[in-house]
């Protein structure tokens, strides 16, 4: 099963390496990884997408939670959450391609960032499935010269925040 893990990580030397290293040492591939600053300058938010059985991912998360630099961690797929991704596409276009790109952009509510003579750069924000579909359709219009995707970022629905998940492992049971 696909799991989206959100982590608040202290901005310390090697913290990200230790975190991502844990995935490879325990035999997991990361589908996508997003790291960016938060409102707290000492902490970054990391979003990872990985695949594995629920129990294996739960075990992986308890191992991640042992890393000293990990402030908080939650498997977002265990509850309701928003998941979005940003993609920037550069297309090489033949004659007549521009009109089709404009139509595609309109259909997906994408933004044209740059419209040159033989190429076009488009930005789209949305759900993963939308991005995947958009990339596929764009590939039919012109030759894809570059794809830059942010990887998933998530927040949970409602008032709950990552730092409000106190413990998700039962210490007694």
């Amino acid at each position: 099963m696909r799991h989206v893990i959100s982590v608040l990580l202290q901005n310390e030397v090697g913290a990200l390496t230790r975190m991502t290293g844990l995935f490879s040492t325990r035999g997991y591939n990361i589908d996508s990884l997003n790291v960016a600053p938060t409102d707290d300058s000492t902490v970054s938010r990391v979003t990872l997408v990985i695949r594995g059985s629920d129990s294996a991912i739960a075990q992986l998360n308890t191992q991640l939670a042992k890393l000293v630099d990990v402030v908080n961690i939650h498997d977002m797929t265990l509850g309701d959450h928003f998941e979005r991704e940003l993609a920037i596409l550069k297309l090489k276009l033949a004659t007549g391609g521009h009109a089709r790109v404009l139509a595609l952009a309109k259909k997906y509510d994408a933004e044209i960032l740059d419209d040159a003579q033989n190429s076009c750069t488009v930005q789209l924000t949305g759900r993963l499935a939308e991005i995947d579909a958009f990339v596929e359709e764009a590939g039919q219009i012109g030759k894809i010269a570059a794809v830059a995707r942010s990887g998933s970022v998530t927040v949970s629905k409602g008032e709950v925040t990552l730092s409000s998940y106190v413990r998700h492992h039962r210490l007694t049971g």
Binding site: L8, Q10, E12, V13, G14, T17, R18, G21, T25, Q59, T62, Q63, A65, K66, V68, D69, V70, V71, N72, V166, R167, H169, L171, T172, G173
Partner: protein
């Protein structure tokens, strides 16, 4: 930096406000942490801190002329790492290792990983090239943060000198709290030379770590959890405690023994927990697992309630987790690390907390509800298993049997000496044939299985316990790995006893080659090697260095070796065909245990070949 300056003048550090170099700050914190020995090897990038050690010792020399923080300098940094580990394992205190950058640091990777795997608290201080030179492929530069980040409990690379003091203090806290482990501090040379004000207080905030630790510390056993536990115990006729290294690391031996003896629950320990129960106690089943006692493994097969305490169902214990303790209706698990709960085998009851406290609380609850249960039938069965399926070997052989050597030493030491080992057959023979009356007497590389551990670990243990008998039981393969440390023992006048059970090869590897590779002894035969161990020991300053190769000399030589007042070395030429039995093949259940020709087996194993060769 967390924690306010102490308002009370009495709490103020006497040196607060003093200007010091970074190196002096490091040594001052070691002194504040009651560090009594540094194991380390100098080099370019750590010179300022070695100099600070010299100056500190010079300034604070004790009345008897001795240094308050002496340095023990090894032949190789790996040796220093295992000395610090031996010191920590034998004393329960944090061991300190200090090395230079580059090769000095990379030589410690093995002991650091070894400490991580066996949860041993050490602090490693590494010199690093100056901050401006990091990442330039400078002389003796290695990516210590990246390397150690993958093997240690934590690594700090100091790039801001104002964080040095808090970081060094925090490193000790991290090493010993929660599940203990090795913590590395990588200190660039310019930070060691930096001068600033010593605050005398403060540590790093570590919000995530402290929050999680606090949750564990505050997680007391509730009455409800106790009630469910005693319900399981009441329903049980054959309860068994499976004690792991956590009992020793958590200083919970007394609490566990009290609990076990209050209700007459037999105790089997893992390799790491030898000494958690007194192996001479009638309800002690000594060691379980791949090379555990046959009777201990049978008891695991028979038990209907398994109580795992600080144990993690490692593959050397539960090779086939689904068939481990197959008759246990309930499994309870105590640990300090939530990640170990149900990691290998799911359990019906668990508690994550402080072992010593939780076991005391569990017993107190039982006494409060006046819990009583008679396990006399089980006790009788245990006594029968212990009598019938005891260890044994070819006592009539003309060759010296390794088991006989250990038995003879054990007769003299009565389970009260500190024993360290290398890794392989000799390690298992020592685990099986020695008695352990107390915790922290048994020092062995359990999880990592590092050959070469025994000699430096014995040195570290002797430093921690100058008046105790410390014996390194080693093999001819293992001792070669760190044989340079023989000289370290004599240099510092440490009266360790080193015994090499020489079977001219890597015996455990040969045992597996006989079982799984049709006897092709690829790379494991050392019969053509030229080393003269006795001459080696003599050359390194051993005044007692003897070779024993006649069976009839065994008792006399063992006695004079053990009773020798200084460092002593004994090579024993043992039967090269001696094997380690019982054996549960890798990946197999205890039902498939083979017991060899001299230990009585309860069942006829279906196959005399213990398991498929692809298992590790």
């Amino acid at each position: 930096m967390s924690k306010e300056a102490p308002a009370d003048r009495e709490d103020r550090h006497p040196l607060a406000g003093t200007r010091m170099s970074g190196a002096d700050i490091v040594i001052q914190i070691l002194a504040d942490e009651n560090v009594h020995t540094i194991f380390g090897y100098s080099g370019g990038a750590i010179l300022p801190t070695f100099d600070a050690v010299f100056r500190y010792n010079d300034k604070h020399r004790r009345a008897d002329g001795k240094s308050p923080i002496p340095l023990i300098v090894p032949a190789n940094e790996q040796g220093a790492g295992f000395m610090a580990a031996g010191y920590a394992r034998a004393s329960g205190k944090v061991g300190v290792l200090m090395v230079t950058s580059g090769p000095g640091a990379t030589n410690t990777v093995t002991p650091i990983r070894d400490c991580m795997a066996d949860s041993v608290p050490i602090v490693v201080i590494c010199g690093q090239v100056p901050v401006h030179a990091i990442g330039t492929d400078a002389f003796q530069e290695a990516p210590v943060a990246a390397i150690m980040g993958a093997v240690a409990k934590h690594i700090f690379l100091i790039t801001d000198p104002t964080r040095l003091e808090a970081t060094v203090r925090t490193a000790f806290e991290l090493a010993r709290t929660g599940r203990p482990g090795p913590v590395v501090i990588d200190i660039p040379k310019d930070i060691q030379n930096w001068e600033g004000e010593f605050a005398g207080f403060g540590s790093l905030p570590l919000p995530g770590y402290r929050h999680r630790l606090q949750a564990v510390v505050e997680n007391h056993l509730t009455d409800d959890a106790c009630e469910r536990f005693y319900t399981m115990l009441a329903e049980s006729e054959r309860p068994l405690i499976y004690a792991g290294g956590g009992v020793i690391n958590g200083n919970a031996t007394k609490a566990m023994r009290h609990f076990a003896s209050a209700y007459g629950i037999p105790v089997a320990t893992t390799l790491m927990a030898l000494g958690a129960s007194d192996t001479k106690h009638p309800l002690s089943l000594h060691m379980l697992g791949m090379h555990g006692m046959a009777f201990a493994n049978y008891a695991v097969e028979d038990c209907d309630l398994l109580i795992a305490i600080g144990a993690r169902f490692d593959d050397r214990v539960a090779g086939d987790p689904a068939r481990f303790a197959p008759n246990a209706k309930n499994i309870a698990q105590f640990d300090i690390d939530v990640a170990e709960i149900g990691k290998v085998k799911s359990v019906n009851w668990h508690h994550v907390g402080i072992l010593k406290r939780d076991l005391d609380d569990l017993l107190a609850y039982g006494q409060r509800i006046k819990f009583e249960k008679e396990f006399s039938v089980w006790h009788k069965e245990i006594a029968g298993l212990k009598e019938k399926h005891c260890l044994n070997y070819d006592r009539e052989s003309d060759r010296i049997q390794p088991y006989a050597v250990i038995e003879e030493i054990n007769r003299l030491t009565d389970g009260k000496a500190i024993i360290s080992t290398g890794v392989g057959q000799h390690q298992m023979w020592a685990a099986q044939y020695f008695d352990f009356r107390e915790p922290r007497l048994w020092l062995t590389s359990g999880s990592m299985g590092t050959m070469g551990f025994g000699l430096p670990a014995a040195i570290g243990a002797q430093v921690a316990n100058p008046d105790r008998l410390v014996i390194d039981i080693d093999g001819d393969g293992s001792i070669r790995m760190n044989i340079g440390e023989l000289e370290t023992a004599t240099t510092y006048g440490l009266p360790i006893k080193v015994i090499v059970l020489n079977n001219f090869g890597d015996g455990m590897v040969r045992q597996w080659q006989k079982l799984y590779y049709k006897g092709r002894m690829s790379g494991s035969d050392k019969s053509l090697r030229r080393k003269d161990f006795v001459k080696t020991a003599e050359a390194d300053g051993f005044k007692y260095a003897v070779k024993l190769d006649r069976k009839e000399d065994l008792p006399g030589v063992i006695r004079e070796f053990i009773e020798f007042s200084g460092p002593a070395f004994l090579e024993v030429i043992i039967d090269p065909d001696a094997g380690v039995y019982p054996m549960v093949g890798p990946g197999l259940s205890y039902a498939k245990m083979i017991t060899g020709d001299f230990i009585v087996s309860r069942d006829q194993p279906a196959d005399d070949k213990p398991g498929p060769g692809e298992m590790f």
